[in-house]
Every structure is written in C-alpha cells, then in structure tokens.
Subunit: 333 residues, 2 copies
C-alpha cells in the first residue's frame, strides 16, 4: 500500500464532477467579485469540492496574489525557550484570526543573504528574525522578495521594523536590585555559546550601567553543572562575590546548585538573580528571584501591528515595544 503517491484533486477534477468549466470552479472557489454564477451552480461546485476533499493551495494563492499568508518566525527551536515559545503559540493564534499562518523556520546558524534566500523561498509575507541575522543584504533580499523583515532584539536598525526585546533593560533591572540590596561586588555570568553570547553581553552592559558605582566582574560560563562548579571553586579562591547576576534562570539554577554543594548560603552570603522568570524559579530552594517581562502590548496588538506592516499601513520606522523588564522577587535576593 502506498496511498501517498495519489494526485491531489484539482479544480479540473471538480469541474468534471460538477459538469461546469474550470473557470466557473475558479470563480466560485475564489469568490471572485462581480461573477454571476447562478446559486444552484455555485452549490454544485462547492459540493463537488467537498466530495473530492479539495484543499485550496496556500502557495497557489500566493502565486496569484503575489503574496502568501505565511509569517516566518526564524529562530532555532533549541534557543526558543519557554518565554518565546509561549509568545510564538499566542502569536500563531492571533495571526490566524487575521488570515495569516505563522510557522517556525528552525534553521540553526545561518545569517545574512544565505539565510534570507532560504526564508524568501517560501514567499512569506513577513519574516521575524533576530536582529543580528538581518544583515543589510538579508534585508534587501527579503524586501525584494516582497517580505517584510522584522528584527527581534534590543537595538532597532534604521529602516528595519523592530520587535524590541530589551536585553539591556533586563540586565539593568537585575543590577539595580542587587545594588539596592547592598551588593558591592557583583559577578555577571555570560554564556560562552555563540548564539546566546551576544544576548548575554547586552544583558551585562545593562547590568554594568546599573551597577556603575560598585565592582562588576564578568564570568564566562558554559551551561553545564561542571562549569558551574569550576566557577564557584575559583570564586572560593579569589574571593566570593556578594551578588551574582545569572544571565538567565538556567545559569542561575546551575550556579545555585554549585553554591549549595560548596556550602555557600544564598541569600545570606551571596544574593542571586536570574532572568526570564521561568517556572524553574518556583522549583529551586531558595526560590529564584528573576527578571521577567511584563506585557505592555497584548499579543493581539503585536499581531495587528505585523499585519499593518505587511499591508503597508504601519510606519516601518516605528518599533514595536511589547514588553517591559520587571523584577519578580523571591527568596534568592
């Protein structure tokens, strides 16, 4: 058995079944304005389409109208994380209500024209990608292919609409809290992995601004329990910081475990702040204080803004600010 080789039904098949011309089928299925198909014929065509299991081809629509209803979210699935995946799911729902289909294009490492060519091959209406991947050549390739680029990240680039994720502000919020708690020697964990390192450096820059009056040390770390143990052992020799900004909750969680193993009291000896406000914060003891994002716009408003960019009704120079950093205080700091 191999049912998969069967040919999908075409408008021609529907025409044969309903005993009308293919043009009539096209008029009916596309609901072309101004056509004068008798109601009885219209019903016969729709019944034949239903009987044959005809599915309109999203891409054929895109060939006809010059634009598809696809919105591409270009992000490696592995760096999606709980926050981004919740946003993705909500956005998919809201965009569907507006007639768009959101899909995740999970190509891992490409950036620039090479990545943009792969995205543009699907003829999307819009492409949401991290700002660093939207190089000038990627942007011109996408706009040339009729797709609106939308840069996800901190720094808006001229002429490219941005969906702002304020990494700088998140680091700043965490740093401010540690300083307010009396910390005078703050270590900031920065991930070593290439994809997330730049995010870590933006968060570090925000922290450094908020903690300008005290000592700030940069501590590069891999996301492994072994490297967390190494970091704590080095601090034990060189002097323990009194505040740690954990880049994200996973780094903070690994460090909290390593501090517990070394007998260092949190928050008594070291205060610890994570970022992202993941469910994880409620599993750890002490519970992890973290910097979360408070929605400023609803997901529906973000979807409407994206649709307006596609239709040319929104100003591409205007950034979308959907979230504000906000401290979620728990036991660790």
């Amino acid at each position: 058995m191999n049912a998969t080789r069967s040919r999908p039904p075409t408008m021609g098949d529907i025409a044969a079944r309903a005993a009308v011309s293919t043009a009539t089928v096209s008029y009916v299925l596309n609901d072309t304005p101004g056509n004068r198909i008798p109601e009885e014929t219209r019903r016969r065509v729709l019944a034949a389409a239903e009987d044959l299991g005809y599915v309109p081809h999203t891409s054929a629509r895109s060939l006809r109208t010059g634009r598809s209803d696809l919105v591409l979210f270009a992000m490696p699935a592995t760096t999606l994380g709980p926050l981004a995946s919740r946003f993705f799911t909500g956005l998919a729902e809201e965009l569907r209500a507006l007639g768009y289909t959101l899909i995740l294009h999970g190509d891992p490492e490409q950036r620039g024209a090479k990545a943009a060519r792969a995205w543009a091959g699907l003829r999307p209406a819009a492409v949401i990608a991290e700002g660093r991947r939207l190089t000038p050549s990627a942007v011109s390739l996408l706009t040339g292919a009729g797709a609106v680029p939308l840069a996800l990240g901190h720094a808006p680039r001229k002429g490219v609409p941005a969906l702002v994720l304020d990494h700088f502000g998140m680091g700043e919020t965490g740093g401010r809290h540690l300083v307010e708690q009396g910390c005078t020697d703050i270590a900031a964990l920065v991930p070593r992995a290439p994809v997330v390192k730049e995010m870590g450096e933006e968060r570090l820059a925000g922290l450094a601004k908020a903690a300008a009056g005290v000592r700030v040390r940069r501590t590069d770390m891999d996301e492994t329990p072994e490297d967390a143990a190494r970091v704590v052992a080095e601090w034990a020799e060189q002097g323990m910081p009194d505040g740690v900004y954990g880049y994200n909750d996973e780094f903070a969680g690994l460090l909290l475990g390593a501090l517990a193993d070394a007998g260092v009291d949190v928050p008594g000896r070291v205060r610890l702040v994570g970022t992202d406000d993941l469910p994880l914060c409620e599993m750890l003891r002490p519970r992890l204080t973290s910097v979360g994002l408070r929605p400023v716009l609803s997901v529906g408003e973000v979807a409407a803004h994206i649709a307006a960019l596609v239709s040319g009704e929104a100003d591409p120079a205007e950034s979308i600010r959907a979230w504000e950093p906000e401290l979620r205080r728990r036991g660790s700091a």
Copy 2:
C-alpha cells in the same frame, strides 16, 4: 519609505534582461533534462538571475512537481520542550541536507480534518504530528493532498507510519526503578491539562505494569507550585507514599520543592523519579533521578527514513523506533 511593496523579480524579468525567451529561462533555472541551451546563453541567464536577486519559489516548484520540499512538524511550540526542540533542530539540519525544509506549524489545539486542512494548504511532502491528532479523516485528507502523515507517539496505527515515542516504556522504566528501590506505595503524578493528560496516562499505564505487585495511586496535579503544595498536604494527612513518579521533570521539580517546604526528606522518606532528563535535574538538590531517552537511530537515519517514506521507497507499515527509555540515576531515588 515602504520598500516592502516592491514586486519580486520574475522569470520574465530575467528573460528581458538576458534577451532570451521566458521558456529558455525556465529551462535553465529548472535544469530541465534534455534541453539544448548553449552554454553561453545558460551563463547569461544565470548572471541575469543573480543580478536581479531572483529567488526560486518553493511553492512554484510544488505546483510544477505536484509536491513541495516542505516537511511540517505540527506541534504547539509551548509543548515542544527541550528534548523535542533539540530533535527538531537536528532533524531540520539533516532534512536540509536531503533537500527538504522542516518547519514548525504551531497551531495549538486543532485535530482531525480541520487541522489537516490547514497543514495540507501548505502542500507539504510530509506532516509529523502527535498520533491523537491524526484521526482517520485527517489521514485521508493528508494522503489525498499528497502528504505523508507520520504519527508521533506510542501506539502505531494501522497504515499510518509512526515515529514511536514510547511513553508507556518511560513510565515502565521509572516504575521498575522505584520497585527495585523497595518502594511499596507509589504515587504517580498525572497532569490535568488536556494536551498532556493523555501522555501522562500512557506513562501511568507503563508504571502500573512495572509496579503490579505494589500499591499505585494516581494523583492528578496542575503544573503550579500551589497545586504541588496541596498534593503534599493531602499526602501528609492520608499517608505519605514512599515513591513518587513525577510524570515529567517539571512536575517532579515542583513536588520536590513542596516536599522540602514540608520537611519531608528525599530520598530518605520519599524516593522521586522524573521523566525527560532535562538540564533541570542537575540544578535541583538532591539532583533528580529521571527517565531519559537513549538514541537508537541517529537523527540522520530518521531524516533518511522520512525521505524514503516521501519517495515511496519505505514501507509505511514499518514504525521508526529512534529512542529507548533509559534511567539516569541521581540523588533523588
């Protein structure tokens, strides 16, 4: 400024620039076998395509060949989790090497024909979806549209190729370990949320088989710290189990926190096993013993099997068994 309204370059534009017919452009760009285009003309066409930034339209290819190079992974991004997202990213890479583009279609709740119609609209070559969403009407709609359905889950269904995720075996592995550790009163956490509840029940069935000789209680729970505290409070009244199977690591993590707050020693008084072997296991104290999945096939082998299903070279009756459940022993049990 609104660069997004510009029309993408067409084969007609390339023909005009290269001073050849559109048919010649089509022959060259599609590398149609048997054409006799002179080498000099071929080069001129390719140069013109390059100059204009022409991007071949994935969907146009699908209209011509009747099949696109898209493989759809239909799963809500929020239920993707670290395991599935790592698999997704690896599979995207391996499928790309075989000429396919893997995209995530993150529609959240639909199943059956309604969901299948949305997937089929993209004319994918294959659709990977949880088995429960691939109802008979969804399967016939997909195969009718030329897409190979691939069911993700425990129970292979007749005629539908399956990518087996052995939830039953995972529960069985966790249960066997608890029994071996001497537990005689095992509570199994089952999530209440509709999407994951069925997975939880498959894992519970596996656990019940392995723990047939001892008491097994089903404990329904929401994934919140409040509900974990309620569960522990009820156990404190009704009698504490000596073993807990945590459905997944997040449920086990929340429960571990609630047990710590109630002063219940793990593993001294209660042994606790999670599932999925998430990085989280290394952050908790005690570290969480968990059931992980050992790869039996490489991601490349899975990709090659999917490609063979699409080309009709693989037997659809044969399931793909890519993973085996495996206990990862740590401090909690």
